[in-house]
């Protein structure tokens, strides 16, 4: 029996508005509990919501970016249920008339193939607050700072057939929302989280199997692991003659497994109806056109431009265009250094290595694009070698400063004085009798390779500062003179 997974995803992207979707309170993360919850967020009697139009603009941007129908008339509905961190007793959402209708994106898989994934819809809604269960013995705390933060819920078609496809889809949506500047994409803070609907069926079957929904997964790696685990669990269950129960599951990252949260039978009847406190949002073509005109370059277009303009490889272009901040960073470095390939190598190499090691986002990189660009300029103009540049870069990362300041302070400037270089070369040749002997006796076409040993010695003697090109020339001239 060959099984096939069917995966559909619901992504909640927190929109990067300054204030909440229906109140003027700030959306900033990490404030003291309940200090960013105003009368509206607390659902005091008599308070009313006022829609933040910035959230609309952002949602429309997303809709245009995934080539979707934009709802000319979208309506907020109330989803009624009781929960202590849901202050009104209902969540304001869009069920019947969402702002973004049917669209699609194309994902690239590891083997280079492309696949189109349908976006069913995307709608605006408000986030709930947070319940805190472990800080007060016998009681629960409620923090309503997050209550009313605008969310765009992006619902996919069940078009994905593997964890790899699902992760590629999530990464692509992540790259789109961050490129648009409508979401900070911070998964650890919950700004971008994902619910995974997974079912399995025998390959060739038309009908979908019974699905489970795994909620609120907040890293790409966890999404992948949760889906792989859930597919395996369902297949094992079915192969043992059992059946999959439609239910909501939670992913436990520590144990790397999903577990049941509640079954569909216990599900609420949400009693949706149009929110009478909010007017339908009506937008016309001129509004949509104005938003379209304001769209920044999207990841796909940027990738194509990177290949065309900077002659980057397909892979480099994809990596560098995937995150708006990374792409901006790269382009700043490339312009400063006037060498895109060098910039790409550094951004994807040294910089990414340190960012990963320190678990730092590109936005928070201690080395700015301008600093790195300045460093690469010094490689280009032979002030320092690539090897010295790595030392300078580490100093930059740890202590700050411009390339020139660090080179100056640490005395790392490349030696280009031909007299000085000749002196070092002479010393090395004088102290390397056996190797010089070998060189002289070697076949002429083997000598090129043998020069490497002398290069190493000269660079070592110069503490890496001698200009390698110059050293090479001088060495060759002097050694050949001995032949």
């Amino acid at each position: 029996m060959e099984w096939e997974a069917v995966i559909g995803l619901e992504i909640h992207a927190q929109l990067a508005t300054k204030s909440k979707i229906f109140s003027g309170a700030s959306t900033a993360f990490g404030a003291e509990p309940n200090t960013q919850a105003c009368a509206v967020d607390l659902a005091l009697p008599g308070t009313l919501p006022v829609f933040n139009e910035e959230a609309l603009r952002m949602a429309v941007k997303f809709g245009l970016a995934v080539d979707a129908e934009i709802g000319r008339k979208s309506v907020f509905d109330r989803k009624n249920y009781f929960y202590p961190d849901l202050p009104k007793g209902y969540q304001t959402s869009q069920l019947f008339h969402p702002i973004v209708g049917v669209g699609h994106i194309d994902i690239t898989l590891e083997d280079g193939s492309e696949k189109r994934i349908g976006v069913t819809r995307a709608h605006l809604e408000e986030d709930a607050g947070k319940s805190i269960h472990d800080e007060f013995p016998g009681m629960s705390g409620i923090d309503l700072n997050r209550a009313g933060t605008p969310l765009l819920e992006i619902v996919s078609e069940p078009d994905m057939r593997s964890a790899e496809e699902a992760v590629a889809y999530v990464r692509k949506i992540h790259s789109i929302v961050t490129s648009l500047g409508i979401c900070d994409g911070n998964m650890a803070e919950g700004s971008f989280r994902c619910d995974c609907n997974v079912s399995v069926r025998l390959k060739g079957e038309e009908e979908f199997g019974t699905r489970t929904e795994t909620k609120n997964i907040n890293s790409f790696r966890f999404i992948e692991k949760a889906i792989i685990g859930e597919i395996e669990r369902q297949i094992d269950l079915l192969e043992d003659g059992g059946r999959v129960v439609q239910e909501t599951r939670l992913y436990d990252a520590d144990k790397d497994e999903t577990r049941s949260m509640r079954s569909k039978e216990e599900a609420n009847d949400y009693r949706y109806f149009p929110c009478p406190d909010l007017l339908p949002i009506e937008i016309d073509d001129s509004y949509i056109d104005a938003v379209r005109d304001s769209l920044p370059e999207l990841p796909d277009a940027r990738k194509a431009r990177f290949i065309e303009e900077y002659k980057l490889s397909d892979y480099d272009a994809m990596v560098l265009s995937g995150d708006r901040n990374l792409a901006d960073y790269f382009e700043t470095v490339a312009k400063a250094a006037n060498d895109a390939k060098l910039a790409a190598n550094w951004v994807m190499g040294e910089l990414s290595k340190l960012l990963n090691q320190n678990d730092t986002d590109i936005k928070d990189s201690p080395v700015s694009a301008e600093q790195l660009g300045g460093l690469l300029e010094r490689i280009k103009d032979n002030t320092i070698s690539g090897k010295i540049a790595k030392q300078v870069f580490e100093v930059m990362w740890n202590e700050g400063g411009t390339a020139d300041e660090i080179i100056e302070a640490k005395g790392l400037k490349q030696v280009t004085d031909s007299g000085a270089i000749e002196k070092i070369v002479d010393d090395v040749i004088a102290n390397s009798g056996p190797q010089v002997e070998q060189y002289i006796n070697a076949e002429p076409d083997k000598r090129g390779k043998m020069i490497g040993f002398f290069m190493g010695q000269v660079m070592k003697a110069s503490q890496g500062k001698a200009n390698p090109g110059q050293v090479q020339g001088v060495l060759k001239k002097k050694l050949d003179a001995l032949v």
Binding site: L42, P45, F82, R271, Y272, D277
Partner: protein
């Protein structure tokens, strides 16, 4: 002094016959002495009233006074008043001190008005008799064995008993006009969206509208001048210029076209009320108006449609009263569910619970189309009926209520009979139209009201028509015996 209208009191303040402090103190003394008979106030705000009166006197002395400066009045206890208990006549909010002011309250404060206190009402404005108040029923000053009507029964009783020269009310299905009719005062429900709902505790958001309850149409115009206007905190308030509502009061009624809906004069109408209404119409003919019969064929559907839509919205609006953040919380809840069930079970009265259950049922899965959507369709039919008639006539007239005030306790065991009392008023709320009730006689010593209905934003016209009627008649100047 207590029989003076707002207009007369304003004149008295202006010419220095008395100060606002004297006037306010006189009313406070009278409330203290008399209100135990009527139970029209839930909270009397003596200290605050005297402070406001003092400030008003200073403004008058300084020459900075406006038209409303120094005038005492009362707020229905549905409007949030900062630092003052705002109970909505419910045990649920008996302990709720609002931390903010409703927009209407802010407007009266800014205009220099003096709030005497907060008036009694049906719990959460759900009722036509004031009997559902947690603080006990308010009594009709014309016969204290009778109800004053509801839900703004406390406001109506206070004005009729001369315990306030005017009061605010709110009208969801007749809650200003019906008690005004039953207590022999003037009440105006403005067009939906004319008066801000921010800070007015929601019963049914798409129907609720605040308005004035006064001795005369002229006073209602003065009140509406303060209350009306766009509010950026209420998305359903209408951004439209506010005229001076006193400006057109004296326009002659020559050529006024009055429509009498035949559905308002059916068999179940009290014959004496029918007579009083016809007599009032005759007065208008004397003033130069022409009268024709019109038809509002869907009038009978307004009650069932209303009792789907209003409870549906209420069931959701009242979800925020959950015992978590403010208001009543049950003793020693054992868990979250117990906290919800007992806080709400103990905090809400029978009528409120009945409507929450009706509303939750109407919105539940499988019933939504049959009930809520159907009711919304009826709502459109009712709106269309009015639009058709109002394209042929200037105003529509009829009785405000089918019966005069009934005995306390008479209809409490038969909720549907109680609901039927709103048959003539409810359809306006469904259509969003403005309507007034003015006194037009008495039946067995109990007042009866004439309802005047106009087109959207035709409040000036309604006030003009009512004022001309009051110049020609003296029903509005009659007081209950002993007052």
């Amino acid at each position: 002094m207590f029989d003076k209208t707002l207009a007369e009191l304003a004149q008295g303040l202006k010419s220095g016959d008395f100060s606002s402090v004297e006037l306010t103190q006189a009313y406070l003394n009278r409330i203290k002495a008399e209100d135990e008979k009527y139970n029209s106030y839930i909270t009397v705000t003596e200290e605050q009233a005297l402070a406001q009166a003092k400030a008003a006197d200073e403004a008058i002395a300084a020459g900075t006074a406006g038209a409303f400066t120094g005038l005492p009045f009362a707020h229905k206890d549905i409007f949030c008043t900062q630092g003052v208990r705002t109970s909505c006549a419910s045990k649920m909010l008996d302990n709720f001190i609002s931390p903010y002011n409703a927009t209407v309250v802010e407007k009266f404060n800014a205009a220099g008005g003096v709030m005497l206190g907060k008036t009694n009402m049906d719990e959460f404005a759900m009722g036509s008799s004031n009997e559902s108040s947690f603080y006990g029923a308010a009594k009709n000053p014309w016969n204290t064995e009778c109800v004053p009507g509801g839900s703004s029964g406390g406001s109506a009783a206070a004005v009729a008993a001369q315990l306030a020269p005017a009061a605010t009310g709110t009208d969801t299905g007749g809650s200003i006009r019906q008690p005004a009719a039953l207590c022999g005062i003037t009440g105006l429900k403005p067009t939906y969206g004319r008066v801000s709902r921010f800070g007015m505790i929601a019963f049914a958001s798409s129907l609720d509208q605040g308005g004035p309850m006064t001795k005369t149409a002229e006073d209602a115009a003065m009140m509406l001048n303060v209350m009306a206007g766009f509010d950026k905190h209420d998305s359903t308030s209408v951004d439209r210029a506010v005229p001076d509502y006193t400006a057109d009061l004296n326009k002659p009624l020559d050529g006024l076209k009055i429509g009498l809906p035949k559905e308002f004069f059916m068999d179940d109408l009290d014959s004496e009320i029918a007579e009083r209404t016809q007599a009032a119409i005759k007065e208008f003919e004397k003033l130069g108006a022409t009268v024709k019969e019109v038809s509002l064929p869907n009038t009978a559907l307004s009650i069932p449609a209303y009792y789907i839509i209003a409870p549906a919205e209420a069931s959701s609006n009242l979800s925020r009263f959950d015992g978590v953040r403010y208001g009543y919380r049950c003793e020693n809840p054992v868990d979250l569910e117990d906290l919800y069930k007992r806080s709400r079970g103990e905090g809400f009265g029978a009528e409120v619970k009945r409507r929450i259950m009706i509303g939750a049922y109407a919105l539940s899965e499988g019933f939504y189309d049959a009930y809520y959507n159907k009711a919304q369709q009826i709502r459109r039919l009712i709106r269309d009926d009015f639009a058709k008639v109002l394209s042929e006539v200037d105003v529509i007239m009829g009785p405000t209520t089918p019966h005069p005030a009934f005995k306390i306790g008479e209809k409490t065991s038969d909720p549907v009979a109680m609901y039927m009392e709103d048959i003539f008023t409810i359809s306006l709320n469904l259509a969003g139209l403005p309507g007034m009730s003015v006194p037009c006689g008495t039946v067995n010593g109990l007042p009866t009201g004439l309802q005047i209905i106009g087109d959207y934003f035709a409040e000036q016209k309604l006030l003009n028509v009512a004022h001309q009627f009051q110049l020609a008649t003296d029903w509005h100047t009659q007081s209950p015996q002993g007052i």
